[in-house]
Symmetry: C2
Subunit: 157 residues, 2 copies
DNA sequence: CGTGAAAACATGTAACA
DNA sequence: TGTTACATGTTTTCACG
């Protein structure tokens, strides 16, 4: 993938990763381009996969899921055949927002949302019961979020 | 905020948090509603803040930022006056995607993106230099992502 | 009150120079 | 690329259940 993003593309990306619903004309005024030029660039950015998706971000409190847990999961390395199933379990579980495979003592770091601690506990009981290769896990409760987005820096650096 | 989300709202939310660009008519066909009914509900969901934002999700590789680090930051608790500045630093730093204030030994968990390890190291040097209350931090490199979204479960549970 | 249908309106898309 | 014409989607209005 060699999309050759120029400065204009990057400024457009910076805007749409804040608000994907703003009309192309507004973006054009901000970056000094006509609406159709912006549309063309957006189409190309979607086509080439630079824009991977445009999604609605929902408010956790409105959906009754105010809790966030950061979970470190340690797996038994002796059972690689269970790894794929573990990953599928994570992928299929909607309460798991993010799951990173990381270096260090713990093998996976999860970001998990929950309605209440009991629901979270039940989820983790299921995780352990249904994944024999989970050796142990550590939960840290997120008491607050300074930031919780997926935005990326778009400047040339 | 008592938005009273019914089953139809939830199904609409499930769809738009996957793809916010699909026309209301398609959503309507999926949930058994007319396009205008869907539009009305979407307008209300935006109005009440259930839909917090609609954003473009960018591809990290296309932007030359393939690396993700999970960073545990431990602060000195003796200097609460520096805490606000630390949070502002995180908020202002675009490489920091997420920053959670958590229980446990480490005070903050960050999700940081980087173009290369050198750039990440430089960033963390700046973090320490510009925040005197950072006692230490631990970096875990994300070797892979099973999941990396912000999607929430929308079912009544 | 929320819905569906049809209007007016804005936006996005596809041709042109 | 910008401009124009065209198609699509959205917003408003209104009558209905």
């Amino acid at each position: 993938m060699q999309p050759e993003l120029d400065a204009l593309d990057r400024r457009i990306l910076a805007l749409v990763q804040e608000d994907a619903r703003q009309p192309a004309e507004r973006i054009g005024q901000a970056v000094g381009l006509s609406a159709s030029a912006v549309q063309r660039r957006l189409a190309r950015l979607r086509e080439t996969g630079v824009i991977a998706a445009e999604v609605a971000v929902l408010d956790p409190r409105s959906l009754g899921r105010p809790l966030v847990m950061i979970v470190d999961v340690e797996l038994e390395r002796e059972r690689p055949e269970l790894l794929a199933a573990f990953r599928r379990w994570l992928a299929a579980e909607p309460a798991v927002q993010q799951a990173w495979y990381v270096t260090g003592e713990s093998d996976y770091v999860l970001v998990v949302t929950a309605a209440a601690m009991e629901a979270y506990d039940a989820l983790m009981q299921r995780l352990v019961a249904e994944n024999a290769n989970v050796r142990r896990f550590r939960t840290r409760v997120a008491l607050g979020a300074v930031k919780r987005g997926l935005a990326l820096p778009v400047d040339g650096a």
